[in-house]
């Protein structure tokens, strides 16, 4: 079983990207579980026809955190897209804290522990687990898939914007910090373009600086924005579009990827100085 984590800054499109990866992998005839690890709990929305599932944390709260009284079907939901897909997609959402109280990363920890407790990966006979994780706050909670070695492969969704590259460099630091104990490696960057000047060059050079690669570029596109409004992936909405092809290529590159590295780390000041020279070109 392959376990993959997709990290990225909030708003960068990591749920959009990871939903397409999940569908693309499942369509190879495989069983995939997509675990949304973002308090916003909308990671799996495109895979559930726009519906938001109950979160693991909400279900746990309702049962006073009595983990033994929870069954798998209360927290894992089969995708209705399975009818049009060669494989199977299962969805789970970690959830987050009650607004204003508690810890943001707790949902991630509880979700993964509950899934483990219920033996979800064996029960469902999964080939792939994909964690879609918020990367703004690389705290103990949100780094759990890396830290505990649940995810052996990490991909980071990034644009060429400086804040986004900074978030990416933080995620790289977490990977190199825990690689010894967890075995987690960086598989590459996924470029989600935002119409910035020299953006592909920025991302390719940045990847090089971090000792990794770019596994795919997703163009800036109105069509992709429609997915969110309509609650479906491009595989349903516009399977023949060039955007959908970009996702196919990306999924293929991830699936065939052999380049897993311990990323280098870079100081924010150096990153910023470099970034300024490249955007000015």
């Amino acid at each position: 079983m392959r376990q993959i984590a997709i990290y990225g800054k909030g708003g960068i499109g990591k749920s959009m990207v990871s939903s397409h990866i999940s569908f693309g992998i499942a369509d190879r005839g495989l069983k995939v579980m997509h675990v949304g690890c973002d308090p916003k709990h909308d990671s799996t929305r495109l895979l559930l026809r726009g519906k938001m599932p109950k979160t693991v944390l909400d279900t746990l709260r309702k049962k006073n955190f009595d983990i033994k009284s929870i069954t798998l079907d209360e927290i894992v939901f089969a995708s209705p897209l399975n009818e049009e897909c060669r494989g199977k997609i299962y969805c789970a959402e970690s959830g987050g804290p009650d607004p204003g109280l508690g810890c943001g990363g707790k949902g991630v920890i509880e979700a993964i522990e509950t899934l483990q407790h219920l033996n979800a990966y064996k029960e469902l006979g999964l080939d792939v687990v994909l964690y879609d994780v918020l990367g703004d706050v690389v705290c103990g909670g949100f780094s759990m898939p890396i830290r505990q070695g649940y995810a052996e492969e990490i991909y980071i969704v990034s644009s060429g914007e400086i804040e986004v590259l900074f978030a990416a460099s933080n995620i790289c630091k977490a990977v190199s910090k825990f690689t010894g104990r967890s075995g987690a490696r960086l598989g590459g960057l996924i470029g989600n373009l935002r119409e910035l000047k020299n953006e592909e060059e920025i991302l390719t050079t940045f990847a090089d600086m971090m000792g990794t690669q770019v596994v795919g570029f997703i163009p800036y596109s109105e069509k992709i924005k429609e997915c969110s409004g309509k609650g479906m992936t491009l595989y349903q909405l516009a399977p023949d579009s060039k955007e959908c092809d970009a996702f196919r290529t990306l999924t293929k590159n991830i699936w065939n990827n052999k380049m897993f590295t311990i990323p280098k780390s870079i100081k924010f000041e150096d990153l910023y100085a470099w970034w300024r020279t490249i955007v000015k070109k």
Binding site: G11, D38, K40, M52, G100, G104, V137, K225, F268
Partner: protein, 278 residues
């Protein structure tokens, strides 16, 4: 002294809005303290032309010995010249070491350290602006609301579902701490992202939760370019339409008396409603 919290989803442009607001307030001859409460520590970049050392980094360097920290270690005055002798002071909370610890801890530590050092009486600012990540409204990131530091909260949003969701989370936190903190919602600042029907969406949404729209910022290459250069449009393009918009927002906040406890909406209902626009 008025204390304002500016919340927003990561990437929505809240630091840009906060920095412009601080700039515009200072241009009115006011003294402003802007506290960046996002682990990314770039809230005050366009005011300092640089990234300051974060409070959490300074504390780490001194092994969390608060008595060894001086105000000048963590608060930096902007080198920019403002009209009428205004001033901007900047501080950045910082965040956890990647992979360990708590994300909201920076916010908690930053505010506690600043208040221990009597920042408000020492600098005597007219305005304090907390620029806060709104993606994870946990105990840490909700501190300015919960403890009543910020009596007024403004949320930067677009018409995107995730951005509106984040507004409902901040609203829930305000409502939850209503009794003890006195913190209220002052309005929404729209940062347009070229979503279909975007203005109608956010206007309708503001009405639904019982608040107002304080300003509408167009999607703009000028703002993007200035951001890339690490500058505000108020400094780099003071005569642009965008600069005028930021000054208007500042004016409206200065006279704003419409502070409310917002109506809360569950995500499922928000989503059903939002879908109607497509």
């Amino acid at each position: 002294m008025r204390q304002l919290a500016i919340y927003g989803k990561g990437g929505i442009g809240k630091s840009t809005v906060a920095a412009h607001l601080s700039y515009a307030l200072a241009d009115q001859g006011l003294k402003v303290l802007q506290i960046g409460c996002s682990p990314k520590n770039d809230s005050t970049r366009s005011l300092l032309n640089d990234f300051p050392r974060t409070i959490l980094d300074v504390l780490r360097g001194k092994e969390f010995d608060y008595d060894a920290v001086a105000l000048s270690d963590i608060v930096y005055e902007s080198p920019l010249t403002f009209k009428k002798g205004g001033k901007v002071y900047c501080a950045e909370s910082g965040g956890p070491e990647p992979g360990v610890g708590c994300g909201g801890k920076g916010v908690v530590e930053a505010i506690e350290t600043l208040t221990r050092l009597d920042v408000f009486t020492t600098l005597n600012p007219d305005f304090v602006l907390y620029d806060i990540l709104g993606d994870v409204v946990c105990g840490g990131f909700s501190l300015p609301i919960r403890q009543g530091y910020a009596q007024e909260t403004y949320v930067v949003t677009s018409g995107e579902l995730e951005a509106l969701y984040q507004v409902t989370n901040v609203s829930k936190a305000i409502k939850r701490f209503e009794g003890r903190s006195g913190s209220k919602l002052g309005g929404l600042i729209i940062n347009l992202r070229r979503v279909k029907n975007e203005l109608a969406i956010v206007k309708d949404f503001a009405e639904k939760i019982g608040t107002q729209i304080i300003g509408i910022i167009p999607y703009s290459q000028v703002v993007k370019e200035c951001g890339g250069e690490g500058e505000t449009v108020l400094k780099r393009a003071p005569d642009s339409e965008e600069a005028g918009i930021y000054r208007d927002i500042c004016e409206r906040i200065l006279i704003n008396k419409n502070l409310v406890i917002p109506t809360t909406i569950d995500f499922e209902d928000l989503y059903e409603w939002w879908l109607k626009y497509f």
